[in-house]
């Protein structure tokens, strides 16, 4: 892996959104060219590319992915398959996709169960400070002491009690 990629990965792992935009723009042209070669329309190719970059970023943040190749190879590798799947769905108009649409309420986020969707809506209504502490613990997998290091909380007990209050508030929002 090149030093530039290593540096970008480090920045991404620190949630540097500027780094995310740099990655997105750096390989966009190559990705779109590859997608176009495979017969995907520009707007679909962009949509697939955004999904691929977000998957990559989220896997990095929650620690479920390790990258041994270059960022470009990783994105194009993941993207290649997703392009084929998108094309395949468009050509065949897969009945499975249609079934899924019928089963889900109009506004439901694809891939989430009802309970998860309720949590998502409740989470979006929480205060920014609650969202932040829950994001750090549940989404990024940071420990309480990691959270103290990266924020202005005084100690782990403060984080813990704030997190408990936020979970209680989330639970109330879901019940209402």
């Amino acid at each position: 892996m090149s030093p530039k990629d290593k540096q970008l990965l480090q920045r991404l792992q620190q949630e540097d959104k500027q780094a995310l935009e740099e990655v997105y723009l750096a390989y966009q042209h190559d990705f779109l060219r590859m997608a176009r070669k495979n017969g995907l329309r520009q707007e679909d190719a962009l949509d697939v590319y955004q999904d691929v970059v977000i998957d990559f970023y989220q896997q990095l943040l929650n620690g479920t992915s390790t990258i041994n190749s270059s960022i470009k190879a990783y994105l194009l590798g993941m993207g290649r398959f997703k392009c084929y799947k998108r094309l395949s769905q468009q050509r065949q108009e897969l009945p499975l996709a249609a079934d899924r649409i019928m089963e889900s309420p109009a506004d439901q986020t694809p891939g989430l169960s009802d309970e998860q969707e309720q949590l998502r809506i409740g989470f979006s209504r929480l205060s920014p400070s609650c969202q932040e502490v829950l994001r750090m613990f549940y989404y990024r997998g940071l420990s309480l002491s990691d959270i103290v290091e990266q924020t202005q909380y005084n100690n782990t007990n403060t984080v813990k009690s704030h997190k408990s209050r936020c979970l209680k508030r989330l639970s109330e929002l879901i019940k209402n």
Partner: protein, 238 residues
């Protein structure tokens, strides 16, 4: 380590195999713990989905990246090459590109090895692996199957590991797994040849794909016979 810390590490891949086994054993015996573990996962996925929407909006608002180099000299050279190749392409115009054949025919094989019972409160590693596979969460399925295979070799688990990798477009890794599968006395022998042929098509290698298709037709003439016949036509040498 407190219970919540263990659960956090469990879902973020930070527990050792031993610690993970211990937690899964406890989950089987303690429904409340299993519920707590599931709740963590639900919240994790809910936040990830919310985050995803914001990221999608952020990336969608960026302008298209410009071309990084002047392409007209390359385009001129390509035009000459295209003219030279035109006759050849005209002859082969009725054939479909191999990558497109892969996209048309590839579907992950259904889980028939370890059926997952919905709504069960506790789940072991194998069930979690196959649940992830059934849900199309192939990265998680591959990771869990790799961990299981490190402890015990099972050709059927390896078959699903290969498909989890193939479904993520990781062709080389998928091929490495398929090549390790037994060539005799194996329930998925025909399926293995079928997916090896599709994998080769995905890589743009019609010659190898054809070799696997011919072997499949010889060993299991009834397996996907119409599709095999069509693909043999598409991969026929000039």
């Amino acid at each position: 380590m407190d219970q919540e810390g263990r659960i956090r590490k469990y879902w973020h891949g930070m527990l050792s195999d031993q610690e993970k086994d211990a937690l899964e054993t406890e989950m089987r015996a303690d429904a409340n713990l299993a519920k707590e573990v599931q709740h963590f996962r639900d919240l994790q996925l809910a936040i990830a989905a919310e985050e995803r929407q914001a990221l999608k909006q952020q990336l969608g608002s960026l302008p298209l990246a410009g071309r990084r180099r002047r392409l007209w000299p390359i385009a001129a050279a390509a035009a000459v090459l295209l003219l030279l190749a035109a006759a050849w392409f005209l002859q082969r115009a009725d054939l479909t590109p191999p990558e497109e054949l892969f996209a048309t025919y590839y579907e992950p094989y259904p889980n028939v090895t370890h059926p997952v019972v919905r709504q069960q409160e506790t789940a072991d590693s194998l069930t979690l692996a196959f649940a992830a596979y059934e849900q199309g969460d192939y990265a998680v399925a591959a990771e869990r199957l790799e961990q299981l295979l490190a402890r015990q070799d099972d050709p059927e688990w390896r078959f699903y590991l290969a498909l989890s990798l193939l479904s993520q477009g990781e062709y080389a890794a998928a091929r490495a797994q398929l090549e390790q599968l037994p060539t005799a006395n194996f329930r998925f022998q025909a399926e293995t040849l079928w997916y090896r042929a599709l994998l080769s098509l995905g890589e743009g290698d019609k010659v190898t794909a054809r070799t696997h298709l011919l072997a499949l037709r010889e060993r299991a003439p009834d397996y996907e016979s119409a599709a095999v016949a069509r693909l043999l036509e598409e991969t026929a040498p000039e």
